[in-house]
């Protein structure tokens, strides 16, 4: 009775976090080489099922962990953003491999320098491609973040566009304040001789 009034909600939140961290449904946004290593991670030898994150859900609505597996190129970036926006809260994002983290050794006209240019990312797993052990390590880091209630990225940038009007979905991606993230032509082109 001497506990502060927030005791029960806090404990409840911990219990929810505990449940969430062991029941991650993944959406593998597999584009490139890392997908082969992801297959191994799912496979019998490394068996990601031990961590409760084994079952790939290929529907963003049913997933709460988006794993960006492989290089994201500028052409793919709106697709990635769209998939992210379609996921329901709470959701987390793991960047699988250096290409998804920073663009890796592809620093050129077509490769987006990291998935975090487009979507917020919780955990970066290095490696080109990362070994399955590294992936599991990254997953456990994410689990700890979820338990500490630090992991959900959308808390940092506000709620995302799950409530976007249907008509606006064609102008993807749309930010919570209603503005679009799509760059227009002037913003897209390199400025003052500098490249971006």
């Amino acid at each position: 009775m001497n506990q502060p009034a927030s005791y029960i909600p806090t404990k409840l939140q911990e219990a929810v976090n505990w449940a969430q961290k062991y029941s991650l449904f993944t959406y593998p946004f597999a584009t490139a080489c890392c997908a082969m290593e992801f297959m191994s991670t799912l496979g019998p030898r490394y068996d990601l099922a031990r961590f409760g994150a084994e079952f790939p859900r290929f529907s963003p609505r049913q997933a709460d962990l988006l794993i960006v597996i492989g290089t994201i190129v500028e052409r793919q970036a709106p697709v990635l953003r769209r998939v992210y926006d379609q996921m329901a809260d709470p959701k987390w994002v793991m960047a699988f491999g250096v290409c998804a983290s920073t663009g890796g050794f592809y620093q050129n006209y077509t490769v987006t320098p990291g998935a975090d240019q487009v979507i917020p990312v919780d955990v970066y797993v290095p490696g080109c491609p990362p070994r399955p052990e590294q992936v599991m390590d990254g997953l456990m880091v994410l689990m700890n973040r979820i338990q500490d209630h630090r992991g959900s990225v959308q808390r940092e940038v506000g709620p995302t566009a799950t409530a976007t009007p249907i008509l606006d979905r064609r102008r993807l991606p749309v930010l919570p304040d209603g503005t679009s993230m799509v760059l227009d032509k002037e913003e897209r082109m390199p400025k003052d001789g500098r490249v971006r």
Partner: protein
């Protein structure tokens, strides 16, 4: 085997051929741009060549030379097993060449790719649009005067980490000795 191909070419279409030669075991024929269709049709249909496979089609950008572009066709015959490389120069001010998409179906996509990345226009192509880059992209990225890091992003988070400094540093340090 392949020397006979060059002889055939010189005998049948002597005015279309600029130069023939051989380098490292590859037979090469450099032909006039306007006659490239005639040459390729002959090579495909003649009974002693029968080059029924267009193995590859690509473009080389010799920036600063004339003609600037060179379209390179690699041909192979399934019947005889011989190969030939046919090249044709394309000037910078009029980067067009006849399409061979109706001779070989494989030319359809590879010509689209050549147009996308090098900006060489293939006259008579049924569906010449970008294939590897997106429609909003401007310029042709594999040309030597296109900077390596010049991205044209479609979407960015407003709070995305800036990349200018990183990519510029990379550009100064490592590569792109030809781009300035």
């Amino acid at each position: 085997m392949a020397e006979r191909l060059l002889d055939l070419l010189l005998a049948e279409l002597p005015d279309a051929v600029v130069e023939v030669g051989s380098y490292l075991g590859d037979e090469i024929a450099l032909v006039h741009r306007d006659r490239v269709r005639d040459v390729l049709t002959l090579l495909r249909d003649h009974e002693s060549s029968k080059m029924d496979m267009l193995v590859d089609l690509t473009v080389v950008d010799y920036l600063g030379q004339s003609p600037r572009f060179e379209v390179v066709y690699h041909l192979r015959s399934t019947t005889f097993g011989h190969r030939l490389r046919v090249k044709a120069g394309v000037p910078e001010d009029d980067p067009t060449i006849a399409s061979v998409a109706d001779l070989w179906k494989s030319a359809n996509w590879s010509e689209r790719e050549a147009w996308d990345l090098y900006g060489v226009r293939f006259e008579g192509h049924p569906d010449l649009r970008r294939i590897l880059m997106y429609g909003a992209f401007e310029g042709h990225p594999l040309r030597k005067d296109y900077p390596q890091n010049a991205r044209q992003p479609l979407v960015r988070r407003p709070d995305a980490p800036p990349t200018d400094e990183l990519t510029t540093r990379l550009r100064l340090h490592s590569h792109d000795r030809r781009v300035e």
